[in-house]
């Protein structure tokens, strides 16, 4: 019985070990080594990469990553909640609207991000249109700033908030909404006192699904932020390419991962308290 169990679990263990634990061990090892002259790593062992992280330059990048990811998450929730609520009450058209939410996944994220560049740049569609209409005389700085990065992230990750929110709202017991109205609560009061508190699991799931990839985002800040809005993802990518500092890149990756794990742990504990 136990042998059979072990055989069935073997593919899982092989996957976890080769694709997750082994690479993690390699990164951990790299982070404590010295950089090679042409990239790569070399002896001796040192914790210098971690000490360098305290440099204000990197703390600024870390801070910007947090606030860009946080702002994107809040905006995704603010836009996603009404959308999910609408879809959950759309009756027989639900699947059609869900299909629309998923539709962008049919195209590459890279291509869609480039499309935003064409829309937002100085000679882009938006600026050209506003100039032709005589509303502005010089192009608005729409691209290469934090705002553009947040826009791109919200655009890219909105479906990841809509889907878990939809799943929660869909399961919400309708008689609770009737009970709320029956007890004198107007629609807005029912929303804030019943619907939103009861969709907390979906809000939490949506927030996690957006915040974590946004925190480590690399493509969007690279294309829409230019060199001006660097996030941790760009910093890591830079260490493995132009900067040729693999140990430092590994150290930053591990610190990012540690921060995310602490956050998840805190959120999971909050969830546990809710159940009591």
């Amino acid at each position: 019985m136990n042998r059979l169990r072990a055989w069935f679990l073997a593919p899982t263990w092989i996957t976890v070990i080769t694709l997750f634990l082994a690479p993690l061990a390699i990164i951990l090892g790299y982070s404590f080594l010295t950089r090679g002259i042409y990239g790569g790593i070399t002896a001796p062992w040192t914790a210098e990469s971690y000490q360098r992280l305290i440099d204000p330059i990197y703390l600024v990048i870390l801070w910007r990553s947090f606030w860009v990811a946080g702002a994107s998450t809040v905006l995704c929730l603010l836009l996603g909640f009404p959308l999910a609520l609408f879809i959950s009450r759309a009756g027989q058209h639900k699947n059609f609207y869900l299909g629309l939410v998923m539709l962008p996944f049919w195209t590459s994220f890279l291509v869609r991000t480039y499309a935003w560049m064409f829309l937002l740049r100085d000679t882009g569609l938006l600026n050209t249109l506003l100039e032709k209409l005589g509303l502005i005389h010089s192009p608005l700085p729409l691209l290469y700033n934090d705002g553009a990065v947040i826009l791109g992230l919200v655009y890219g990750y909105l479906p990841f908030t809509v889907l878990p929110l939809y799943a929660t709202l869909e399961r919400l017991d309708r008689t609770l909404l009737e009970a709320s109205a029956d007890l004198g609560a107007k629609p807005w009061a029912t929303l804030t006192r019943v619907t939103i508190p009861l969709s907390a699991p979906g809000i939490r799931a949506g927030a996690i699904l957006v915040f974590i990839p946004c925190l480590g985002a690399y493509l969007t800040p690279d294309l829409l932020g230019g060199g001006k809005s660097v996030m941790i993802g760009n910093l890591i990518q830079n260490q493995f390419t132009t900067a040729r500092d693999w140990p430092f890149g590994s150290a930053v990756s591990l610190v990012l991962m540690a921060i995310v794990m602490v956050l998840l742990f805190v959120i999971a504990r909050g969830e546990g308290e809710d159940l009591l």
Binding site: D173, T175, L176, E178, A179, S180, A181, D182, L183, G184, A185, K186, A189, R193, V194, P197, L198, A200, D274, L276
Partner: protein
């Protein structure tokens, strides 16, 4: 008799069927009124129209003389105890009970919540969540949450059906006692005839969207106006055109004495039920008839030929010209 709730020819039509058809009803202030009927008879739809969750297709609903059928649920001073109680799972017992009080005047909220929790015997359980309560306790929270608002009419949608049978009788007695104490008008929907008979001051029997009869439990049981009402409330033996309740029948070896009606029958089976004996018989025309007697004076064997007799006064007669 002061009328608090009035339904005037209220109908609810859906695309596929007529759920409620021309129901007219008056509820006196402080009375316990039950709507009784089989599932799908329109009783719950009627209740939901009074609560405001459904809008009548035709007719008028008046609360204290004012039309309310176009008002939203939160604009009506009626309150509902739902079949599944619909307690807010994220709120404590106290917060559930205070839910509807929030927008009302401040200082006395604490007192009112305490009073109503005492009334339903939930004092000491204020900080529990609904998931930590038993079925009976949840039912009492739902009741308290509505009662604390002092509604003109309390609407109860089969509130006892989710409880286990042992608890149901006890909760039934408590419910009646609470209604007497608070004096609030109860409109109680049920498919359980025993519940309706034991709780109600008056009751209405519904069938296929229509209200067939309204009256006190005694009136309806003793003088049902239609065959449906007669057979839905209690058992009836149909002998030709007349109905006779099993407990109004007697069994004897010989035909009736003067003034009694009688029919020859054959014993099929008898069942001892403790407080009474059920005797299944078959009339000479092949129809089954059940007799319920407190105790059998003599023993009857299956297959034995007997006579069933009853008093003419106990016959239920119907002249249903409009029978569908």
């Amino acid at each position: 008799m002061e009328c608090v709730l009035e339904l005037r020819a209220v109908s609810k039509h859906y695309a596929s069927h007529h759920a409620v058809n021309g129901v007219s009803l008056n509820l006196a202030r402080g009375e316990f009124f039950s709507l009784l009927g089989p599932s799908g008879c329109g009783k719950t739809t009627t209740l939901r129209m009074v609560a405001g969750f459904e809008e009548p297709t035709e007719g008028e609903i008046r609360l204290n003389g004012a039309s309310i059928q176009h008002l939203k649920p939160y604009q009506r001073n009626v309150s509902t105890v739902f079949q599944n109680y619909a307690l807010f799972p994220h709120l404590t017992v106290r917060d559930n009970v205070e839910f509807g009080l929030r927008r009302r005047a401040g200082n006395h909220i604490g007192d009112r919540v305490r009073d109503v929790l005492d009334l339903v015997q939930l004092a000491g359980k204020e900080s529990r969540r609904p998931s930590q309560l038993s079925g009976g306790e949840r039912q009492r929270v739902a009741l308290a949450r509505s009662l604390v608002l002092e509604p003109e009419v309390l609407l109860l949608d089969e509130p006892l059906s989710a409880l286990d049978p042992n608890l149901r009788k006890q909760v039934r007695a408590e419910l009646k006692a609470i209604q007497r104490r608070v004096g609030i008008t109860f409109l109680f929907v049920t498919h359980d005839q025993e519940e309706a008979l034991s709780l109600s001051d008056r009751l209405g029997v519904m069938n296929k969207g229509r209200l067939e009869q309204v009256g006190t439990p005694e009136e309806i049981y003793l003088h049902p106006s239609t065959r449906f009402v007669a057979s839905f409330l209690g058992a009836v033996n149909w002998i030709g055109d007349v109905g006779v309740r099993p407990e109004a029948m007697r069994i004897a070896r010989e035909p009736s004495r003067n003034g009694h009606r009688s029919r020859p029958a054959t014993i099929v089976h008898s069942t001892f039920l403790g407080n009474c004996v059920h005797v299944d018989t078959r009339l000479s025309d092949g129809e089954p008839a059940v007799v319920e007697v407190s105790r059998l004076g003599e023993t009857f064997a299956p297959g034995q030929a007997v006579h069933l007799w009853w008093e003419p006064a106990d016959e239920l007669r119907f002249d249903e010209l409009h029978h569908e």
